[in-house]
Symmetry: C2
Subunit: 232 residues, 2 copies
């Protein structure tokens, strides 16, 4: 599939030794930083490089990054494929996390328009909102319209929209159906598709959704070959 | 975060129209292909372009790909980050799927050596096997050795090993611990890390694993800054 890795085969024993070295370094660090302000760890690490020449110069302690604020991914966040993410409805506390993804568009599957913080977020970030209003499957009379879902898939398969985040309310049902149909295009077995669907839907898994995915006819899908993602 | 999308903002109504066009196209296709062999769909599509000038020339029907055999991802397969995948123990029926990932290495977390089909697979594909033998957490006396897990993380954070597949037996516990520790380095909140852990472990989630992830000290981690992945 690809050429041989030019780097030598990894030796876990060697790593073990390296790890012990790291532990020593860490002890030295602790002694060293006792009389320093902990908020100043980054500069502290730089000093360390000068003090301990036996350490490899291009290795850094993770602590340098530890002052960064925690990041909060949206509910049910995951990577679907390179450049395609999925989640529940993102809120203000998720925006710093989403910023790191460098999104170009949001593929939004609820009927309600984008308002408030979210509308401002896509404006601030100059994101394209790809809005495909869908009511989730609900027995006995509400069914996901196949034409709208096909249109959403066409937008999803256009790599000019990537990186892209798919979301609905919980990231379980409508998002699960769209991702399930994408997996059919990727030729995944139905067993694997349902396994993934259930991983996100959990106890809320809907037979109607799985029926929709199983019956979805990928042969009816027409999309831009020129702009399809590389992984397809 | 990034520059404005030069393409016009997406109009779902327009897509709806497009979708109807596609439906028409599909009807024409069906009429057209009635007197053709279905296994010859790809060529059929090419003929179609000549026959129906009103269709956008760079749009193709998905049907062209429908003769490809179904692909079987390994149990609990998912994308962790760009170039990093996770799963349960892959077997022979998963190899065509894994081939499509263009893997460079496999990060393997069970104590048993690689044998049989799997040993042959990594030989055939000239993959590097990064083997970090770990026994999963088990009450009361078996605990994942933090030093080995740190060594595995260092290999995982070296982008020269990517694309890389992490796997253990079920892709739940040992893999879940390694990915959980990676998420700590990515500064995810513990709530989000546990949510992801539980998505894969399901009813088999282990408190000891979650304890391990929570207590794991990222400050003790030393890795090659020069080769860290872009997404970190």
């Amino acid at each position: 599939m690809h050429s041989a890795d030019p780097s030598p085969v990894h030796d876990p024993d060697q790593d073990q030794d390296q790890d012990q070295d790291q532990d020593q370094d860490q002890d030295q660090d602790q002694d060293h930083s006792d009389d320093q302000d902990h908020s100043d760890d980054h500069e502290d690490d730089h000093d360390d490089h000068d003090d301990h020449d036996q350490r490899q110069p291009d290795m850094v302690r993770f602590r340098a990054f530890s002052s960064v604020k925690p990041l909060v991914p949206p509910l049910n966040f995951a990577i679907v494929a390179p450049g395609v993410y999925r989640s529940g409805y993102p809120g203000k506390k998720n925006f710093p996390f989403l910023n790191k993804l460098g999104l170009k568009s949001i593929l939004y599957l609820c009927p309600e328009p984008y308002v408030g913080d979210n509308a401002q977020f896509i404006g601030d970030q100059t994101l394209s909102l790809l809005h495909f209003p869908i009511h989730g499957n609900k027995e006995p009379f509400t069914h996901i319209p196949a034409a709208t879902l096909r249109a959403a898939l066409v937008a999803l398969l256009d790599s000019r929209n990537h990186p892209l985040l798919i979301h609905c309310n919980k990231g379980k049902h409508r998002t699960g159906c769209l991702v399930g149909c994408l997996r059919k295009i990727q030729k995944w077995t139905v067993t694997s598709i349902f396994d993934e669907y259930q991983r996100f839907a959990g106890t809320k898994a809907r037979i109607l959704d799985q029926q929709f995915i199983e019956m979805f006819d990928t042969r009816e899908l027409v999309y831009l070959l020129e702009h399809r993602p590389q992984w397809l």
